[in-house]
Amino acid sequence: MRKKILILSVLLLAVMMVAAQCGGGEAPTPEKEAPAPAAEEKTEEKAPAEEEKAEEAAPAAEEMTITVWTKEGEADGGLPFLQSIADAYTAENPNVTFEIVNKDVEVLREDFQTAALAGNSPDLLFTVSDHAGPFTIAELIQPVEGLADLGQYVDSAVAAVKLDGKIWGVPASNGNHLMLLYNKDLVPEPPANTDELIAMAADLKGQDIIPLVFNQTEPFWMVPWLGGFGGSVFADDGVTPTLNTPEMAATLQFMHDIKFAEELIPAESDYDGSDTLFKEGKAAMIINGDWSVGGYTDTLGDKLGIARIPQVSATGNWPAPYTAGTFFLFPAELSGAKLDTAKDFVGFVTNEENQVKMVEELNRLPALKVALDDPAVTENDLLKGSADQMVVGVPMPTALEMRCNWDSMKPELLAILSDTKTPEDAAAAMQTAADNCLLTLE
């Protein structure tokens, strides 16, 4: 009897071990690898016909819910805008409903990777271009050449999601870049350079106004200054980190000085804190992205001004924020009727009418070429300021190696802003961390 039970137990354990090995097994199964290329071929064949059909009725009549994960937030107006477009689509196609979920940018990336690992991806992503890097490497999204007529979008926006010769996202807005937004009641004229910025800070502090705020927790807000000091996070090959440089040390020194020596920025400030201080009129200027303009227009109205981030007086260079846009990414596993509907919805969001609506409500530069000629764009002063900032921006790197740079810069930036490291040590530590990180990508 005991022997039989022992045999049964051993058999059960063996089955579990085999199952565990299969779960993370070695041989790629054709069935699992098939969806992405299959979907691509299928949609490529259908593409010409669909371009002609443009924005006609939804292709599928079956009841379905499309889950969209987006980085668009409530406070910026992006989430309500996307929801209103989804509602309009549902009004035209009652069989399709949407579940739109807001996630912070980095949380969206992490959650999508985890969800994809568990085979439980959302149906559509609406996010930033640099997510395309890790998602394509992990084969989590599918190329979009067959899913949209990419020729109708601004070339620079499309180029922002081009990796390995393929396009991985459909652009909805162009830019997504940082700029200087200021309260005209507190700062009639924006500072042209960092010397002016520092000079006007004394007056503002005398009035108990914080001169400048920005999200101090993310290196995305530091990188423009790095450009201003003449540095870049990558060598010319676009994948080798160059973080331990005199330019980076100068940038970190500048970040340290505006906090501790000049006291231009608050002791602590994350995204929401900065946003609130600016909206409440407690901060005169904020460095934030084009996604935030809609929210500030609602709060400040005509008092809102947009300008370039002040020129770095020490070098004479303009800070160079990263430019890209916002994009719809299609998960690799999306196929069939849901893929057709998601594709149709993306076409709906980026049609001329809705692109102009986005300009009017959110003050973002459209990705659709024809929308650029609309008076809503050409006669919009805020967009002029945003476009002027874009001129000195640089394209956001989407290579996977950029993740190593972001992750390596963050703790060191925090160390500088908590005055626990010297700029030189922090720059060296960034480089070491990025080099170590590259090894883990192999």
Binding site: G25, E26, A27, A138, E268, D270, S418, A429, T440
Partner: protein, 355 residues
């Protein structure tokens, strides 16, 4: 938003109905299989208990044993973003060259991830041992305050004082609030500009504190929140233990002339030990593994505030070091297992449970 109509209720039930039906049908099939094997084939006299335990055992295998084995397997692999998920492109780490000695075999082949936990930074800058010792410090500080605070409140509430029920309710309140909600609320209160902690400090004429960027104060904020959260649990456990101690012991001690301190050390503590031991073991493991408080209070992601489990989360889900993280998780598991065995052995805390 949909109102709660019959249609909505039916739709909601139908969404979970499939899962419930699957569990019910699965359980029935499992019971039949067990009956066939143990009653019909093996003719075992223990068929009934086996059938009663069967579904729970199966659940444990599927939900605990299988993930553990999967993770153990993962810890030997090179899974990363380039070799990701069900694409099944990751493999066990193979030796690049012929292993020259056992040491090389241990550190650069199959067990490379385990060796990497100790020889590479577990995050971007910090190595394993600083994070480990910080975790021990975090656990020690919290457990001391939980135990002392819980004991003080338990003794107070064990006295015949007026309004005892109301005090008890208020003191248990932190435990009743979902932890993430409580932690996020606390994080708001540590905000430099708008948090009440700094506002009070300013009113008192003191300097504001950089709770989010200063490593020391951020760690302190984590401890404050976790102590606030953890005292009610210890208080409830100890109060239960105190109420089970017969007053006869204390009366006898008083007749013998024992002081309050002597009664506490010679009656209360020994008689509380069967209750305290599992509470301390559990509390230590929970604190050691507490994710919500260190992760959410450390909003700026200071590496100086990470403890082992938050570092593990970041390694796995922010930095995508999957094989490494699986090995890291096993090392944490082994540390806690050894601690639990050691503590139970040294304290003889479960002796009375066995007897």
């Amino acid at each position: 938003m949909d109102s709660l109509t019959l249609d909505v209720i039916v739709r909601s039930i139908s969404e979970v109905g499939g899962t419930v039906a699957f569990i019910v049908v699965g359980s029935i099939i499992l019971e039949l299989v067990l009956f066939l094997i143990f009653k019909v084939i093996l003719k075992s006299p223990h068929t009934l208990p086996i059938m009663l335990l069967g579904p729970a055992a199966f659940g444990m295998i599927v939900l605990i044993i299988y993930p553990l084995l999967w993770e153990l397997n993962l810890s030997f692999t090179n899974m990363s973003l380039r070799r990701f998920g069900d694409k099944a492109q990751y493999t066990w780490i193979a030796c690049q060259a012929k292993p020259e000695n056992i040491n090389f075999w241990l550190t650069d082949c199959l067990f490379k991830n385990y060796a990497d936990v100790f020889r590479l930074p577990v995050l971007k800058q910090v190595y394993f041992f600083p994070v480990f010792f910080r975790t021990v410090l975090w656990t020690f500080i919290n457990m001391v305050f939980h135990l002392v605070g819980g004991m003080i409140f338990a003794i107070l509430l064990n006295q015949p004082i007026r309004g005892r029920g109301i005090y008890r309710t208020f003191l248990i309140l932190p435990w009743a609030i979902p932890q993430v909600i409580a932690v996020l609320a606390w994080r708001g209160e540590f905000h430099f500009e708008y948090g009440f902690v700094n506002l009070i400090l300013v009113r008192l004429g003191l300097e504001q504190i950089n709770w989010m960027t200063d490593p020391f104060w951020n760690f302190t904020a984590m401890c404050i929140v976790n102590i606030w959260l953890g005292i009610p649990f210890m208080m409830v456990i100890l109060l239960g233990g105190l109420q089970s101690i017969s007053s006869d012991y204390y009366e006898a001690a008083e007749i013998d002339g024992a002081s309050g301190l002597q009664q506490f050390t010679n009656i209360t503590i020994p008689l509380l030990r069967p209750v305290m031991t599992p509470a301390i073991v559990l509390g230590t493991i929970w604190t050691f593994n507490n994710f919500n408080v260190p992760f959410f209070i450390n909003q700026f992601e200071l590496e100086t505030s990470d403890i082992l489990v938050t570092a593990l989360f970041r390694a796995a889900f922010q930095y995508n070091r999957y094989g490494f993280s699986a090995a890291f998780a096993f090392i944490i598991f082994i540390i806690l297992l050894l601690y639990s065995i050691f503590y139970i052995w040294i304290s003889d805390g479960l002796k009375e449970v066995y007897e």
